[in-house]
């Protein structure tokens, strides 16, 4: 799966983009976020307050119970502030 990070989520994780094999046991967005935190360091910091992180699966906003697959593009970012 392709993972993307934007704005301060990107700054905290220290990377903008990575491709990983879907971790074992992960089937939803929520599972993936839980796994992220187990990575520790910048990832743990980025997801410390989950309420401040938005998720998109294949470029559509996704809720916490959204299913994910190994072919998905999944992005993590703060609430948007454009315009």
């Amino acid at each position: 799966m392709k993972l993307l990070y934007f704005a301060w989520v990107r700054e905290k994780t220290g990377i903008g983009e990575e491709t990983i094999t879907m971790p074992e046991g992960v089937t939803t967005v929520e599972d993936l976020v839980s796994w992220m935190i187990t990575r520790g360091g910048g990832f743990e910091a980025a997801f410390a307050d989950k309420s401040t992180v938005r998720v998109a699966v294949n470029q559509e906003y996704a809720k916490i119970d959204w299913p994910v697959t190994d072919d998905d593009e999944i992005a993590f970012f703060p609430p948007v502030t454009g315009g």
């Binding site: 703060p78 948007v80 315009g83």
Partner: protein, 159 residues
């Protein structure tokens, strides 16, 4: 139905003229330009950098335009949003809606910017005297967008 996500500045007059050119059914054209202010609250800012999500940003803007066209009888709409480094006084965004009727043009345009502010993946990093600060989402923006959501719910309930 025009969407542009670009680093370059845009020509407001040329864009607005093109939007209604040759369409003699248009009675009103409402537009909004967002500009970089030199203050963020009480703090002066020197510049800002706009980050976006190439691909999803364009997709989100297309959906916002489609939603506006479904809600109001708009003959054309336009969204141009810049990314990259911008200085105070620089244009950030232009949204516009044309319609046979004035109220539809106003509502359509207002909706475009309100929804863009809460749904389009852009993030502002402001250069302040204390260093770069990511702008926080504003409760006011959520409230402005919620107004339109409520209108939609009402429409659905009535159907």
């Amino acid at each position: 139905m025009t969407i542009k996500v670009q680093a370059e500045d845009f020509d407001v007059g040329a864009e607005l003229v093109a939007l209604t050119d040759g369409d003699h059914g248009v009675g009103g054209l409402c537009s909004f330009v967002g500009l970089v202010r030199d203050m963020a609250g009480t703090e002066p800012i020197g510049a800002m950098t706009l980050e976006h999500y190439p691909g999803m940003t364009e997709k989100a803007l297309v959906e916002i335009e489609a939603e506006a066209c479904e809600r109001w009888p708009l003959s054309s709409t336009l969204i141009i949003h810049r990314y990259g480094r911008l200085e105070p006084g620089d244009r950030i965004v232009l949204v516009a809606a044309a319609s046979a009727h004035r109220e539809a043009a106003f509502d359509g345009c207002h909706f475009l910017i309100d929804w863009l502010k809460t749904r389009a993946p852009f993030w502002k990093l402001e250069d302040t005297p204390d260093g770069g600060q990511w702008v926080s989402a504003r409760a006011d923006d959520d409230k402005a967008a919620a107004r339109w959501a409520a209108a939609s719910d009402k429409t659905e309930a009535a159907e």
